[in-house]
C-alpha cells in the first residue's frame, strides 16, 4: 500500500518538475530566426564557394600564375590572362616591363567539392572563401560563376 502511494507521489512530482522546465523555457528568448527574412551571421571558418580578393586599387590581387587551376582536383577552375606592358622607373631611367593581367576567372561550382586546395595553393592570397550559402536554382548555368565579374560588381 505504501509503495502504491509513493509511486503516485513521485510520479506526480516528476510531472511537476517537467512542467516547471517547459514553463521556464516558454519565457526564454527564441533561438531560431525566420529564415528568409532574417539570417544569422556565418562563422569565420565557413567555407562557401571561392571569391577573388581585391588589392588596394580594387583590381584582382591575382597574378595569373595558374596554381589554383592545377591544384583543383575536379578541374573546376579555368582562368585566362594577357600580357600588358607597363613602364616603371629603375635607377632614374624609364624601363618597359611586362606583367600578366587576369582577364577571365571561371569557377564551375557544379563540380567543386569545396576542398579548399585552391585557396591553400595560392601564393599571394588572392582567393578566399565567400560566406554565400543561398545557392539554389533550377538552372545549371547559374552555378558557373564568373568571379572577375563578381569582383567588379562588388566594387561598383
Amino acid at each position: 500500500m505504501g509503495a502504491y502511494f509513493s509511486e503516485i507521489f513521485y510520479g506526480l512530482q516528476s510531472l511537476v518538475i517537467g512542467l516547471g522546465i517547459t514553463f521556464k523555457e516558454f519565457f526564454k528568448p527564441v533561438v531560431t530566426v525566420s529564415y528568409p527574412f532574417e539570417t544569422i551571421k556565418m562563422s569565420d571558418r565557413y567555407r562557401g564557394h571561392i571569391e577573388l580578393v581585391e588589392d588596394e586599387e580594387g583590381n584582382a590581387k591575382c597574378i595569373s600564375c595558374g596554381m589554383c587551376q592545377r591544384a583543383c582536383p575536379s578541374g573546376s577552375i579555368s582562368l585566362a590572362s594577357k600580357s600588358v606592358e607597363y613602364e616603371v622607373e629603375v635607377k632614374g631611367e624609364m624601363k618597359t616591363k611586362k606583367k600578366k593581367v587576369l582577364v577571365k576567372y571561371d569557377l564551375n561550382f557544379t563540380t567543386c567539392s569545396l576542398c579548399g586546395q585552391c585557396v591553400e595553393s595560392c601564393s599571394v592570397g588572392a582567393i578566399e572563401f565567400s560566406k554565400e550559402y543561398n545557392l539554389a536554382s533550377f538552372n545549371k548555368e547559374d552555378f558557373h560563376f564568373d568571379l572577375l565579374n563578381r569582383l567588379k560588381e562588388r566594387n561598383s
Partner: protein
C-alpha cells in the same frame, strides 16, 4: 428564457461561430505555444500568424475528399460530423455568465456528458468505416480509453452534484459565487454554512486528467499515435473530413475547460467577489487551455497499458473513495 424557434436559431448560430472560431484560433495558439516551449517563434508571418487559420481552412476545403475503396461510405461520411456536432450541441447549455446562456437546462450536466460519449462513437465509426487496419486498432484503443476515463470523470461529477444538489450548470456555478474560498477546488466552503471536504483538490486533479484523456490529446492521444498507427482513426481522412475531426478536438477542449471552470473554479465569479461576468469565465477557460497546451508539449505519449492502469488502478479507486467521503461528510455537516 422563452425558447422560440428564432431564439434557438440565433443560439445555435452563435454556438457554431464560437466553436469554429475557437477551434481555428486554438490551432494557432497551440502552434505558437509549442514554438515558444521549443524556443522557436512558431507561425509569425502577418502579425503573429493571424492569417494562418483561414489559410489552413481554405487549403483543407479545396482538397479532394477521397473515400477509400471498400470503405463503408455512410459511416465514413457520418463520423467526422459526429465528432464535431456534439461539441457544438454542448455549447448550448454552458452558461458563460449569469445571463449569457443559450438554454439553461435542469439536466445540463447530464446532457453534456451524454453528448461527450458521442465522441468515442465518432472515433469508432471513423476507424471501422474506413476499412483500415490502423484505423480499427486506433478505434479499439480510443474506445477503451474513453470508457475508462468516463468512469472516474462521472464519479467526480457525482461528488460535486451531491454537494450542490443540482444538475443545472448555472446553479452549480452560482453555488460557488462570492470569492475563491467558495470554489469547489478548495477543501473549505463557507457558503450555506461551514463545509469541509479535504480531498477536493484531488477531485479537481482527477477531473482535469480525465478531461485531457477524453479530448484524446497528448499525452493521452493513443488513438492517433503516429509512431505506431500512422495517423490512427483518421488515417484515411483528408480534406474537410480531417478538418472536422481537428475542429472537433479543439471544440472539445473548450468544452472541457468550460466544465472544469464551472464545476471547480467558480464559473463566471471573480476570485475576490468583484465584477463577476463573462470576462472572468473567458479568462479562466483560456488559462486552462494554456495549461492543456503546456502539458501537451511537455510530456511524451503514454503507453496504452500505462494509460489504462492509471485509470483503473489509481483514478477510479481514489474517486470512489472521494465519493464515499463526501457522502459521509455531507451527513456530518
Amino acid at each position: 428564457m422563452d425558447l422560440t424557434i428564432f431564439n434557438a436559431i440565433i443560439a445555435v448560430v452563435i454556438a457554431i461561430a464560437f466553436a469554429a472560431a475557437n477551434a481555428a484560433y486554438l490551432v494557432l495558439a497551440e502552434r505558437r505555444g509549442a514554438g515558444r516551449i521549443q524556443r522557436r517563434p512558431g507561425p509569425n508571418v502577418n502579425l503573429f500568424g493571424i492569417l494562418q487559420p483561414p489559410c489552413d481552412g481554405i487549403k483543407l476545403m479545396t482538397k479532394q475528399l477521397v473515400i477509400p475503396g471498400g470503405a463503408d461510405k455512410a459511416l465514413f461520411m457520418v463520423a467526422p460530423v459526429l465528432a464535431m456536432a456534439p461539441a457544438i450541441m454542448s455549447f448550448v447549455t454552458i452558461p458563460f455568465s449569469d445571463t449569457i446562456v443559450a438554454h439553461s437546462m435542469d439536466v445540463g450536466v447530464l446532457m453534456i456528458f451524454a453528448f461527450a460519449s458521442f465522441g468515442g462513437m465518432a472515433i469508432l465509426l471513423a476507424g471501422w468505416g474506413s476499412r483500415n487496419k490502423y484505423g480499427v486498432m486506433a478505434s479499439v484503443r480510443a474506445v477503451s480509453q474513453n470508457i475508462s476515463y468516463e468512469v472516474p470523470m462521472l464519479i467526480t461529477v457525482i461528488t460535486i452534484v451531491m454537494m450542490t444538489g443540482s444538475l443545472n450548470l448555472h446553479e452549480l456555478a452560482s453555488a460557488q459565487s462570492g470569492g475563491f474560498w467558495n470554489w469547489n477546488i478548495f477543501p473549505v466552503s463557507l457558503k450555506d454554512g461551514f463545509m469541509l471536504q479535504p480531498l477536493m483538490p484531488v477531485s479537481f486533479l482527477i477531473f482535469f486528467i480525465c478531461s485531457l484523456a477524453e479530448t484524446n490529446r497528448a499525452p493521452f492521444d493513443l488513438g492517433e499515435a503516429e509512431s505506431e498507427l500512422v495517423a490512427g482513426f483518421h488515417t484515411e481522412y483528408g480534406s474537410m473530413g480531417f478538418g472536422l475531426f481537428f475542429m472537433g478536438e479543439y471544440a472539445n477542449i473548450v468544452i472541457g475547460a468550460s466544465l472544469i471552470t464551472i464545476l471547480f473554479l467558480g464559473g463566471w465569479g471573480c476570485p475576490f467577489g468583484l465584477f463577476p461576468g463573462v470576462w472572468w469565465f473567458l479568462l479562466k477557460i483560456y488559462l486552462l487551455i494554456f495549461s492543456f497546451i503546456w502539458i501537451r508539449w511537455t510530456f511524451p505519449r503514454t503507453t496504452i497499458y500505462g494509460l489504462l492502469n492509471l485509470s483503473w488502478k489509481i483514478l477510479i479507486p481514489i474517486s470512489l473513495f472521494n465519493l464515499l467521503l463526501t457522502a459521509g461528510l455531507l451527513k456530518v455537516f
